[in-house]
């Protein structure tokens, strides 16, 4: 129990800039909204997924999506600070974000899609969106102390 509490304390001992986390989460949301809009890949995505519109309850979806983005930004800033310290540069922030993307998103989401036996393009749209988003978030979180 003692080491568990030590672990919690250890992970919380960083001082994080909440405003930077909120802005990074917003960047994640905005890039996603653009990515899946008709201007970029929205139409292709709808064809690939067979979905036409979001239907009812879209407001709740966006709210949950915002919570998801905040979670990502919150943990990502910790990964950056632990790996590169307080003096992390923009390049280092982007690198840590990119590595986390590779280790946890590419490798993590992959099997879920692999074994579903359906359109793989959904996976590539998603993973490419998150790469762009992670690089932007990494730059924000590293430079904005």
């Amino acid at each position: 129990m003692e080491s568990w509490q030590h672990g919690i304390k250890m992970i919380q001992s960083l001082t994080v800039n909440w405003l930077a986390i909120v802005v990074a989460a917003l960047a994640n949301i905005v890039i996603g909204a653009l990515w899946y809009s008709p201007f970029l890949f929205g139409k292709v995505w709808m064809r690939a997924s067979g979905k036409q519109d979001m239907g009812k309850g879209a407001g709740k979806l966006y709210l949950l999506n915002a919570v998801a983005s905040l979670l990502i930004a919150y943990v990502l800033v910790h990964a950056i600070r632990y790996a590169a310290g307080d003096a992390a540069t923009v390049a280092e922030g982007m690198m840590v974000a990119g590595i986390n993307w590779l280790g946890f998103l590419v490798a993590g989401v992959l099997p879920v899609y692999l074994f579903e036996g359906r359109n793989k393009s959904l996976y590539f749209f998603y993973i490419a969106y998150q790469l762009v988003s992670f690089l932007v978030m990494g730059a924000i979180l590293a430079s904005w102390k």
Binding site: G7, N65, I72, A87, F115
Partner: protein, 139 residues
Amino acid sequence: MAINVIINYWAVIVAAVVMYALGALWYSVLFGKAWARAGKMTKEMMEAAQKKGMAWRYVLMLVGSFLTAYILAHFIQYTGSMQFTDGMVGGFWIWLGFYVPVLSGQVLWEGKPFAYYLINVTYYLVGLLLMGGILAAWH
């Protein structure tokens, strides 16, 4: 990178194999049927996938497990975790920050049932707790 860490490659290999083996169990004897039902996968879809060949998928999954274990090992070392339980805390945060939000997209946007998400996300929770613990304790 500003901070250098020493990675125990044996621990990485063991952690990756544990994750992989857990996945093999999780999606067969443990929750295989529930997963197929929740994901609305028909027998025909599964058989079609079998025919196309599954071997490369398992190879890709194994590669993915190594990648995850290798990168998680760095995170665990950066946080200075030395004990199994500390590593579990690190694994938990990575799970909460990346797997929980990322996999939720399938329910939010792709219309997958919540039960399907639950089976996937709990697999990663158990996997990351185990990997984090191994990578911290065996450094």
